[in-house]
């Protein structure tokens, strides 16, 4: 069904000429003859050379026979036999042309599908001349992107899948770069596979390894087994034992993985940068999910060397099934020593004392002003599996930093220097957790002390979670500074355990009361994220009514995280948001 196919080919060199885009060679595919006729007329009116095909198969044949015969393809979505997306996929893989999808179907998911499959545009029928007048820009853009892509390729930057996603249409149509294009297309294809969460192991044969969830999990397990610092590509590869996987692929993935960990940790602290102090990351052992694989690992994370150290302590909860994810740190530190269950109490106390000794850098007197902030939230959960899950799935060992389980024998009224990074403490199933303290200290502190609690009874593992930290940080943003009461700390040594039974709202209220805006000198520079918080205010209000409800939700969240990495990210952010919500609620409460 060739309508007007001229041999006057429009070459890339012509692009600069005044003629452009006249002569742009367009392949039009639509099973609907009416549309075919109309659209091809419009295209011709635009001065393009149009070739029509009424089915995807024959269009593909034509393209295969004459790979460089077309500059752009316009295809309908709904076609019998092979639909537009399939065609799009093939074109992307085989000849790397810009493809425009068109359909009367304007539903969001279909449009999105077009985009994710690499279409450079999606036109809703009826097609207007205005829409087609400018399609040549896709050809130009593609060329440009291709060049950029090439640069990336050279510098190796394009390793990062995300970057590719950003420029989905960076595939050249000119033959000169076909090889590169081909590669890129493969990548793109692989990413799509990732997106669709298919486990396509055959993809291993392709130039780019698809790090499917399974594969990634294997990788993560291997890394954890080795300990992230000791994890070298070769060993990981041996452990994973996946055919087709090469050391290089593992190396590159490991690099990304580390980068990711770092990013995550930066992200947490990032928003409130200036926090998190130690330049060197320290990692505590990390536990894998379910506690089955609880081998201690060291993770390498990096904490931005920005100055302040942070302590995060997890408060503990009962061994029973109650999860208490959020605890106000300050409560722990200060006066309120909520009721404790006696057993836990005891144990906790023990832990605390023990840890206290580990803790350096706490001097006996503290200058309030230097004390920037205390991380308001501690995380505690009766079943720390939650955290373990996160870490296992998320692989964010980086956060795991320092474990600071205790504070000086009960008299920690002041810190002159500080240490530490946020920690999460993983407790054995019986469930006693040491408290986590988050606080900010002046930069003067020696960065990066870490005290892994390996030997600690009751604490078999440490888990770090990016999330938690993030949450904490957001909370920090809110708090104007933590000040004055260091007695809290004193109290700590003695009453470390925070029962999490009290409702969140209560905690927040208390927190609020303790706040002293002036003192938070250090905090002011931090950006606030109110908009995000606002979004969740309503949600929180619902949940804050009932802590256990919220807790449950959180727990559920953590469980679902197993689903996939991507889902995991989502879940994490949801989790984080909940914290933020909590923060917002806090604000609300204080306002009222």
């Amino acid at each position: 069904m060739l309508v007007s196919r001229s041999n006057a080919s429009w070459k890339s060199e012509d692009r600069t000429s005044g003629q452009f885009p006249t002569g742009l060679r367009v392949l039009l595919v639509d099973d609907d003859n009416t549309c075919l006729k109309i659209v091809s007329s419009i295209l011709k009116k635009c001065g393009y050379e149009v070739t029509q095909k009424s089915d995807a198969e024959s269009a593909l044949d034509l393209l295969r026979k004459n790979k460089n015969g077309y500059d752009i393809v316009i295809s309908d979505v709904h076609m019998p036999d092979m639909d537009g997306f399939k065609l799009l996929e093939h074109i992307g893989l085989e000849m790397d042309l810009p493809v425009i999808m068109m359909s009367a179907d304007d539903s969001k998911d279909v449009v999105l599908k077009g985009v994710t499959h690499g279409a450079c545009d999606y036109l809703i029928k009826p097609i207007s001349i205005e829409a087609l007048k400018n399609i040549w820009q896709h050809v130009v853009r593609k060329k440009k992107q291709e060049l950029k892509e090439k640069d990336f390729e050279c510098s190796g930057i394009s390793e990062d899948g995300e970057q590719q996603q950003i420029s989905p249409e960076n595939f050249d149509y000119s033959s000169s770069v076909n090889e590169v294009n081909y590669k890129n297309l493969k990548k793109r294809k692989d990413e799509e596979d990732d997106e669709e969460e298919r486990d396509d192991t055959s993809a291993l044969k392709k130039p780019r390894v698809v790090w499917s969830n399974d594969l990634h999990q294997q990788f993560v397990n291997a890394v954890h087994q080795l300990g992230i610092e000791k994890a070298v590509p070769k060993k990981i590869l041996e452990l994973m034992n996946v055919p087709g996987l090469t050391r290089e692929k593992v190396a590159s993935h490991l690099q990304k993985f580390r980068l990711y960990l770092r990013k995550a940790s930066q992200h947490q602290s990032g928003r409130n940068n200036a926090f998190m102090g130690a330049p060197e990351a320290s990692f505590g052992p990390m536990s894998l999910m379910n506690g089955r694989n609880r081998q201690p690992l060291t993770a390498t994370g990096q904490i931005p060397s920005r100055s302040l150290a942070t302590f995060q302590a997890a408060a503990l909860s009962r061994p029973t099934a109650t999860y208490v994810p959020i605890v106000d740190q300050r409560n722990i530190f200060r006066f309120e020593t909520p009721k404790l269950t006696s057993e836990d109490d005891q144990q906790q106390l023990k832990n605390n004392v023990k840890q206290m000794n580990l803790f350096h850098g706490i001097s006996s007197s503290m200058k309030p002003k230097q004390f920037a902030t205390l991380h308001p939230f501690a995380q505690s959960s009766g079943d720390m599996n939650m955290e373990a899950d996160y870490s296992a799935q998320m692989d964010q060992p980086q956060q795991m930093t320092q474990i600071f389980n205790d504070i000086n024998g009960g008299n920690v009224s002041s810190f002159e220097s500080s240490v530490g990074q946020p920690n999460f403490i993983k407790v054995i199933p019986s469930g006693v957790h040491g408290p986590t303290y988050n606080s900010l200290y002046q930069p003067s502190t020696p960065p990066g002390n870490s005290f892994p609690l390996l030997s600690n009874s009751g604490m078999s593992t440490l888990t770090s979670k990016g999330m938690l930290q993030e949450e904490v940080n957001s909370e920090m943003q809110q708090s104007r500074g933590f000040v004055s009461n260091y007695d809290v700390l004193g109290g700590l040594g003695k009453n470390t355990v925070q029962m999490v039974n009290s409702s969140l709202a209560d905690n927040f209220l208390r927190i609020e009361g303790e706040r002293q805006p002036d003192t938070g000198v250090q905090n002011n520079p931090f950006p606030r994220q109110l908009s995000e918080e606002d979004l969740f205010t309503a949600f929180f209000k619902q949940n804050s009514q009932n802590q256990s409800k919220m807790t449950l939700t959180l727990t559920d969240t953590s469980r679902t995280i197993f689903l996939s990495n991507k889902a995991c990210m989502l879940q994490l952010s949801a989790f984080e948001n909940m914290y933020i919500v909590a923060v917002t609620a806090e604000i609300d409460l204080s306002g009222s």
Partner: protein, 150 residues
Amino acid sequence: MERNLHRQLANMKKSLFDQGYLDHEQFTQLEELQDEANPNFVEEVVTLYYRDSARLIQNIEQALEKNPLDFAKLDNYMHQFKGSSCSIGARKLKNECTQFIEYCKTGNGEGCKRTFQQLKKEYSSLKKKLEHYFQFARQVGPLEKACRPK
């Protein structure tokens, strides 16, 4: 006299727009695609549309008789039908298609069937109107062309 005929034709078209049968913008675009090389472009397109869509309508009819209804298939058919209908500027038909697709999404078989009956009515009534219009246009044709600025 000729001018009158032309005006009559223009009125006829206008009433198709006014009554919502045709989409002004789309139909005008079709007319603009008509030139010396394709003097009867609009009519050809409409003829093509009625020829091809008859098959599609038949397919949809058959699919609607199935039990249970295959909504995915219906949805697919209807998008094709909608695509060509809106391409010729058949506005009322397009709206019916949209309604039909909505029912498909919610799995409302009764709604689909009802809408489809309505759709067929619009389909044939538009066909009649357009036939009439083109027939008349052919009579006035040469004049119309002369009168048209461009």
